[in-house]
């Protein structure tokens, strides 16, 4: 799965640590999410969407 997390975060001048704090996860998890090495659970995906005030599908893209 592809995502725009890095772009969204950088657009708001948030560090990985800021985002990790806001989402209550570790910085390693944010890094793994941004590099596409880890796909979040549905609750975490909703939390991310809520934080950026976007829809899940605006952040995550399902690649065939």
């Amino acid at each position: 799965m592809k995502n725009h997390l890095k772009v969204l975060r950088a657009g708001r001048n948030w560090s990985q640590a800021d985002l990790a704090d806001a989402l209550d996860v570790s910085r390693q998890t944010i890094n793994a999410l941004e590099t596409g090495k880890y796909d979040p659970s549905l609750p975490l995906a909703f939390k991310i969407a809520r934080l950026f005030a976007l829809k899940i599908e605006d952040i995550f893209e399902d690649l065939p």
Binding site: D21, D24, V25, S26, T29, S41, A53, L54
Partner: protein, 168 residues
């Protein structure tokens, strides 16, 4: 995309408490390891020395009782610590442990199981280093259970390390 520009939520008391709990968990682990290593080593050597002076072997006197008491005394705080640790980690860290148990632990059994079959299938199959221990059937069973746990831990640890290294 939505044009609304969100801001980061305030650094909450809940989050601060969680971070401090995480630090506490690792400090407790460090302190626990030191206490167990030093305390267990000191008492164990005293018990062993007393046995030696009385001319008793390692399976006589207080040594077996010390080993049983030590294993139970370390089990209870370890279980308590494991629960605290599990509650403190995020979903990716939990996923690493679950995958490691399923694949690392499970695969280690799959690899080692065929190796145990000759021991059960052939009456004449003997491992000299085990035979040399002079083990009774009960002790051999205990040794088998212990070996299974160690093999599982090894597979678990290897898989967890590789999983975590790949996600970094």
């Amino acid at each position: 995309m939505n044009e609304e520009q969100p801001t980061l939520p305030e650094f909450s008391q809940k989050r601060a408490k969680k971070l401090s709990t995480k630090r506490e968990i690792w400090l407790i682990a460090l302190f626990g390891i030191i206490v167990i290593a030093l305390g267990g080593g000191l008492i164990g050597s005293m018990v062993g020395h007393a046995n030696n002076r009385a001319g008793l072997g390692l399976n006589d006197g207080f040594v077996p009782w010390f080993l049983v008491a030590f294993s139970f005394a370390t089990m209870i705080p370890t279980l308590w610590w494991s629960i605290k640790y599990w509650r403190s980690i995020d979903e990716m860290a939990k996923r690493a442990h679950l995958d490691a148990f399923c694949w690392g632990g499970g695969m280690s059994w799959a690899v080692f199981l065929p190796l145990t079959v000759p021991m059960l299938a052939f009456a004449e199959f003997k491992l000299d280093f085990i035979e040399g221990l002079g083990a009774s059937a009960t002790r051999a069973f205990g040794l088998g259970v212990f070996t299974t746990i160690m093999i599982t831990v090894l597979g678990y640890g290897l898989f967890w390390t590789v999983w975590w290294a790949k996600k970094r």
